[in-house]
Symmetry: C2
Subunit: 399 residues, 2 copies
């Protein structure tokens, strides 16, 4: 579509935080707007961007009356007084204070870089941005003084835990012994390798604790999500991957932990509901009471349990660590190859355990670009997607 | 004994924190000196005070060469160059930065008040100080800018959790929905009321997780310790008792938690080892690596479980809440009556469940002094101890 040049309305600073929500009709976007709905006196929505769900997007435009909008197809849309603007432009509006990046896949990368270069706080709920371009995004954020407020429940938990000792001016690395990412283990935590080989998309989509989009649910079933979270945690908190552990925690109540150098562990717990980390990112550095968020009744909880991850059945964990340690464009390949492979699995063209096989093969074959810019990252992304298609054609047909 | 007037040695400020340890031969004192031993470049011991264990005290004087000492009987003691000084004087030395209050019972109250009035940071590991005189100690500390760094594992955990959102300047009450004190439940967590009535001192001293002095171990068996911790938490964190909950957590791994107004819970976990909270109080606002502190291997932990406390079998919890809500000298009576009653139980003169009966009776009969000063608190203490003796004589003889 043609992007119309937006003419910024006169700024009316009424003390409310100006918000842009990228991916407003998705799971993160709708939950973000649900939190915003609870605090009308605290936020105004400056921009909304969405993909294909125009019916919902139309209702959001009518309710939140943003200054800017963007969507894939404007046919039939009645945007009222909102101007159509590319995401890269709306995030840079002077009235924007925070950009929620809830887009799926690589679409959020360019607007995220635009936001941090404009010095805006970003709240990435999108794994791809930090996995593919973690080095570039964190470097640009530091250069432009842009805060990164992680929304992923695990990184949000670590963020909550890390500030625990009131000495946030001290380097994290001096204080932290380990970041401990918890993983529910998804539907195949106790499954046999054979059952995992035979798993159907329906079985893999049956996540025990979280309701999420299909791609991320499959990533939870292969633990690729946890592998990617290792990469994100490395960039967000500046901690080397040797100090980032994964522990299985089937109840999804402890969302992650920090072990400090003195042996003290601080953990964050809540019901598995994404509105909690979303609200924390929106309210930071305050905390706001919100009766719509579920409470945890600890005294009547069943046991909280932990176990080490089985790297044999979940090779994606090791693939992610390999991509992080090799650097360059490897993490971009991991991310793009996984997205393409998961789509093939959901389309019943490959098996679940073909996902790590194909991603591993793509990593092996990849010719890296060191210190990549955005273009090199997008090139690696394209190469990986194409390579996955070829590799999938070479596999035995799905039974 | 006669206290000799101490002549302060010329101050030699070498960047090390000046420390006074009150109760240096007790459980908290020896563990404090164990931490100090790990960081000789960070601390110098200005003063040591002990009770009756002169053999150990002699070794501590030789090892740490304090400027001041105090003990109950100096006969045979070779203090080297250390001056004998009352605790109230040694804590006020200009080179003292932190006073660890590890004395048992009421002995720590007067030196604690002297320390806060001299603007010194105090690290209370002694329940009596804050239970009996929480209002006076916190008021004086605020007036003189003295920090209170709690060492009790539960309050230390809450302290670690409370600073979680990087907004410690905001009033705690705006951010906190509930403080959640965890209780192991001690040896009688699953015992019947009848078994508790018949319990011997040997059975009551068998704490499943912690090694502590006998008085506090019995308080753990009756949950009086947890009741007193509610009172301490109220004074330390300014949170009303309606927002302070107790949850049974038999594994003693989560040492306490904070539920924030947004529903997020932050918890502190570690092996049950008092050197961890002691070191945190000493190192604050930093954290120091210490290989001598045990690590928690989460992946191989058994389950963490929780249950509500049984107020029928553990009436001390309700007695403590009653004493806190009545205010005045009631908490001093609770504390003194409990200490006297526990001594009678350990001496086999009363039964375990007579402890709450006698303490409850003393609270019922007490004539309170509102807004008590130190003298009124000491009066209430004396009255309660005497009353317990009389009440115990009126009980049926122990079988």
């Amino acid at each position: 579509m043609q992007a119309h040049r937006a003419i910024p309305a006169p700024s009316r600073d009424d003390g409310r935080k100006g918000l842009v929500v990228l991916g407003s009709t998705g799971s993160i976007g709708t939950q973000t707007l649900d939190v915003v709905r609870s605090f009308p006196e605290r936020f105004r929505v400056i921009g909304l961007a969405a993909g294909r769900n125009n019916a919902l997007f139309q209702r959001q435009l009518a309710e939140f009356r943003p200054r800017y909008f963007w969507c894939q197809h404007t046919a039939g849309l009645e945007p009222g007084e909102a101007c159509c603007a590319p995401m890269e432009e709306m995030v840079a509006d002077p009235d924007v204070g925070l950009v929620m990046v809830g887009t799926v896949g690589i679409a959020g990368l360019s607007p995220t870089l635009a936001a941090v270069r404009a010095g805006k706080a970003i709240a990435p709920a999108n794994k791809e941005v930090l996995v593919m371009a973690g080095e570039a995004v964190t470097r640009e954020a530091a250069r432009h003084g842009a805060a990164i407020l992680p929304v992923d429940s695990e990184h949000n938990a670590i963020w909550q835990c890390l500030q625990t000792d009131g000495a946030s001016h001290l380097a994290v690395s001096q204080r932290v012994a380990r970041l401990i990412l918890t993983a529910s283990g998804g539907p195949f935590r106790t499954a046999s390798r054979r059952d995992m080989e035979e798993a159907t998309p329906e079985q893999a989509l049956r996540h025990p604790n979280w309701t999420m989009g299909p791609k991320i649910t499959i990533d939870s079933a292969t633990l690729m999500n946890k592998g990617m979270e290792i990469i994100e945690a490395h960039w967000l908190f500046g901690v080397p991957q040797e100090k980032i552990d994964v522990v299985m925690h089937p109840q999804s109540i402890i969302h992650s932990m920090v072990e400090f150098v003195d042996g003290s562990i601080v953990a964050q717990l809540s019901q598995p509901d994404m509105r909690m980390p979303i609200q924390y990112a929106l309210s930071y550095p305050e905390r706001w009471s919100n009766p719509r968020l579920p409470r945890l009744d600890l005294a009547h909880l069943k046991a909280l349990t932990f176990e080490p991850p089985d790297l044999e059945r979940f090779p994606c964990l090791s693939l992610a660590r390999e991509a992080l340690s090799k650097g360059a464009t490897y993490a971009a390949v991991l991310c793009a190859a996984d997205e393409a492979a998961v789509a093939l699995f959901l389309d019943r063209q490959i098996r679940l355990m073909d996902v790590p096989r194909i991603v591993g093969q793509a990593l092996d074959e990849h010719r890296p670009t060191p210190q990549p810019d955005l273009e090199a990252i997008l090139d690696a992304d394209r190469w990986a997607r194409e390579r996955v298609q070829s590799l999938a054609r070479g596999l035995p047909a799905r039974v």
